[in-house]
């Protein structure tokens, strides 16, 4: 049967057909839908892990026990999971073990543009790179085969354009889930120096064997594809870039690499001899190019193309086939520039009121990763720094310790419920232990919002929405020694401001839990038929309600608010900010 699948759904399908038993992941764009789609297959144990390191370790454990296991993450998630990754390379596997990592060239939804291929080389692991949904499925199945053939974890690298593109995929019947009998093997699985020294030797031999087999098409290891074309131009490429190459340069000879580490040197060498000009087309870093140059093979790459962002057919045409560049029906220059449309917090978003309070207090705010990073944008602009998952609390503590006693300004950390559980807890323990005086605000919207509403350990539901134990954030904070833990409703922005101000005065770590469900989940939706209504007689056009920047509330020609009942969530934030009683929650006639 043929079906249109998202790249991520095809990865999940591949895992299902390969007989995977355990998948443990933390959500992260553009990888989230893999584990969500896998959860549709009931026979797979799927779970949201508290973070990527945990997800990886769960998968490693399942593999050692003898089952096929997988963990999926976005590129920055692999940084979190890097510790187990490097040593799992030494232990090797029991059942097939696959790490899926989704890079985000162009940073559609990421804080950096790192190239995860470097991890494969650094951790001495094979890495496969599919270029469409059909390959997402077949490469994942191959990844499990390679994992078991060579006793190694295998990486599968996606890019946003592969993970988030739909294309036609042939479905097959799934293999049975087979769990190998377990035998204790300390020399293989207990990594202390005496054992690890011996394992390292095997790792180096393994890489050499894979590289050799990858050059030999008869082994079926490399999944490389050679397209015979003109001898004037030869392209070496892989992944998303392959599609642009075929579109822009239909006449070129192409060597499409499937297994992109370790590289098939003999194959690359023989391809290079067939063409007069050799160009490497790869997004982000010159990973392939530098390796090919090291082989002593002349090629071009980053001298023609950027280190930044996504590539395109047009970019390739401009560089290598300029006479095929198309012109638009209308050029950008002949039109006025459209004002930008940055993402905004939704109507009814609980983060809005909280950031308005922080903005009025002119607080120093260390931010974190989630929808609430939008608090850095106007009109609140209430954020000083944001680096990575869980960093807000540690950065606030460092900021606090670097502040002279004469400086009365205190520091706030803002962190979401899921991000706090991901990697905020260890930072909170550290701040309490080391005598910080910061105020930590946990934005508890009862869901992992930014990535599209995944459950987490504090929401009371598991990945399949079955009931699950819920962490009490209050009890957790108290148990690590936080002396002041208070809960507020962020929509009551004045009360939020008062409480934050009080807590900032305290000379020790305090935690404020700003609790209200995300407006996009069932528990966060306002009552049916209720909307904010405007009493135009009372409105003085002061503009306070407009400053909320609520998508449901705009200024009419008379500068008085106009509510869109289709969008309004009746949260009441606009009602709370109006000093003249011109707004109330009522029913629209």
């Amino acid at each position: 049967m043929r079906q249109i699948l998202l790249g991520n759904e095809a990865v999940a399908r591949g895992a299902y057909e390969a007989g995977v038993k355990v998948i443990s992941s933390y959500p992260g764009t553009p990888s989230t839908e893999i584990t969500e789609a896998a959860a549709q297959y009931e026979r797979i144990h799927c779970e949201w892990a508290t973070n990527e390191k945990v997800g990886a370790e769960v998968a490693i454990g399942a593999s050692i026990r003898g089952a096929r296991a997988m963990t999926c993450m976005k590129h920055v998630g692999l940084n979190v999971a890097a510790d187990p990754l490097f040593t799992a390379s030494y232990t090797g596997i029991g059942g097939g073990l696959v790490f899926v990592v989704a890079d985000d060239p162009g940073m559609h939804s990421s804080q950096n543009e790192q190239d995860s291929r470097h991890y494969a080389r650094a951790a001495k692991l094979p890495i496969l790179e599919p270029s469409d949904s059909a390959e997402c499925k077949s490469f994942v199945i191959k990844a499990f085969e390679l994992s078991e053939k060579y006793d190694t974890p295998v990486l599968v690298r996606l890019q946003t354009r592969v993970a988030h593109s739909r294309s036609i995929t042939e479905l097959s019947d799934p293999s049975d889930i087979l769990v190998k009998p377990y035998t204790k093997d300390m020399a293989k699985y207990v990594m202390m120096p005496a054992m690890a020294v011996k394992r390292h030797v095997l790792v180096e031999k393994r890489t050499e064997a894979i590289a050799n087999d990858s050059s030999d098409p008869s082994t079926g290891v490399g999944l490389h594809e050679e397209i015979d074309g003109s001898s004037d131009l030869g392209i070496i490429t892989s992944g998303a870039a392959y599609q642009y190459v075929r579109e822009a340069l239909p006449d070129a000879s192409v060597l499409k690499l499937g297994l992109i580490w370790p590289l098939p040197e003999a194959l690359i060498r023989s391809f290079s001899k067939k063409v007069k000009r050799l160009v490497v087309v790869e997004e982000l870093d010159p990973f392939l190019e530098n390796e090919i140059l090291t082989m002593g093979i002349a090629c071009e790459g980053k001298s023609l193309f950027s280190l930044n962002g996504e590539y395109s057919t047009a970019m390739l045409r401009a560089a290598l086939a300029p006479d095929t560049v198309t012109t638009s029906a209308v050029s950008k220059d002949s039109l006025v520039t459209a004002p930008g449309r940055p993402p905004v917090m939704c109507a009814g978003c609980p983060h809005k009121g909280l950031f308005m309070a922080l903005s009025r207090l002119k607080a120093q705010v260390m931010g974190d990763i989630g929808c609430y990073t939008l608090g850095a944008l106007p009109p609140t602009s209430a954020m000083d720094a944001c680096v990575c998952m869980g960093a807000s609390i540690g950065m606030a503590h460092g900021f606090d310790k670097a502040t002279d006693a004469s400086d009365s300004k205190k520091t706030v950390a803002v962190i979401g419920d899921s991000t706090f559980l991901h990697s905020g807890i260890t930072n909170l323990i550290n701040a309490v232990y080391n005598g910080s005086s910061i105020t930590v605000i946990i934005l508890d919207n009862s869901i992992t919002g930014m990535t599209g509403h995944q459950q987490n350990a504090s929401t009371g539901m598991d990945i399949r929405l079955n009931p699950a134990p819920a962490v009490s954030l209050e009890a957790l904070c108290e148990s690590v020694g936080v002396r002041s833990v208070r809960v507020i409703d962020p929509v009551d922005t004045k009360e939020a401001q008062r409480v934050i101000k009080e807590e900032l005065e305290k000379p020790f770590v305090s935690v404020i839990i700003a609790r209200r469900p995300c407006a996009l989940i069932p528990t966060g939706k306002g009552p049916r038929g209720k909307f904010a209504v405007v009493d135009k007689d009372k409105c003085t056009t002061c503009g306070q309600c407009i400053r909320i920047m609520c998508p449901a509330l705009t200024a009419g020609p008379d500068k008085k608010p106009v509510i869109d009942p289709e969008t309004c969530n009746s949260c009441g934030l606009c009602v709370n900010v109006c000093a003249f009683g011109a707004l109330s929650i009522g029913e629209v006639k």
Partner: protein, 208 residues
């Protein structure tokens, strides 16, 4: 219309459709539906989406390409056969994707972005006319009011299906394939099928 107009994809060429709008307008569902249509017509297809941060009321764009063999999932400047713009400002933003001889369908809904709400920038007036003037006879620009049409059938959320209705009269893909795909797309919510079929029909009328 220019002679190189193409209503159905041929062996040598893909049909490229851009869906441009604002997060929450239903462009993702429209893209999926076009994917279903391509499958039913026996064509290869790629639908490229944007998830995550950009969906939070930001500018979103979905690319659909169908044909005998589709390589690139994205549509470059000057290569879109059709641009379906769910919002006026997004039409202006993505107009240069349209190829010579292409067709742009603009819904005249205005969703004001943050810089406009903050009073830092102006929402340009008469966007469809501006584009028409700049395009001249190099492409066709169709302006419709998809939001009012959607509300008239019972839900502003049906804007995406109104837009697909408007697209459908510009292609040679048979009406029954469109309707079948709508039924399949909403198979999980059967109550929504009649409403969406009506939205589709109104979209067809508006673009004729």
């Amino acid at each position: 219309m220019a002679e190189q107009d193409m209503n159905t994809p041929s062996d040598s060429k893909c049909m490229s459709i851009v869906l441009a709008g604002v997060g929450g307008q239903g462009t993702l569902v429209a893209g999926k539906l076009l994917g279903t249509i391509a499958m039913k017509t026996g064509l290869d297809v790629k639908v490229s989406e944007v998830h995550g941060m950009s969906q939070r009321g930001g500018s979103v764009i979905t690319y659909v390409r169908m044909g005998c063999k589709v390589f690139s999932p994205i549509i470059d400047e000057g290569t879109a056969d059709y641009c379906l713009c769910f919002e006026s400002l997004e039409a202006l933003r993505w107009a240069s994707l349209l190829r010579k001889g292409g067709t742009m369908i603009i819904s005249n809904e205005k969703i004001r972005p943050l810089p406009v709400l903050l009073g830092k920038e102006q929402y340009p007036e008469g966007i469809a006319d501006t584009i028409k003037e700049a395009v001249g006879d190099r492409a066709r620009i169709v302006e419709i009011n998809a939001k009012d049409a959607a509300i008239s059938v019972g839900s502003a959320k049906a804007v995406n299906i109104v837009m697909l209705g408007a697209l459908s009269v510009n292609t040679n893909i048979s009406e029954s394939v469109w309707e079948e795909s709508i039924r399949e797309t909403f198979a999980g919510k059967p109550k929504m099928i009649p409403m969406n079929l009506e939205a589709f029909r109104i979209g067809r009328d508006l673009a004729r």
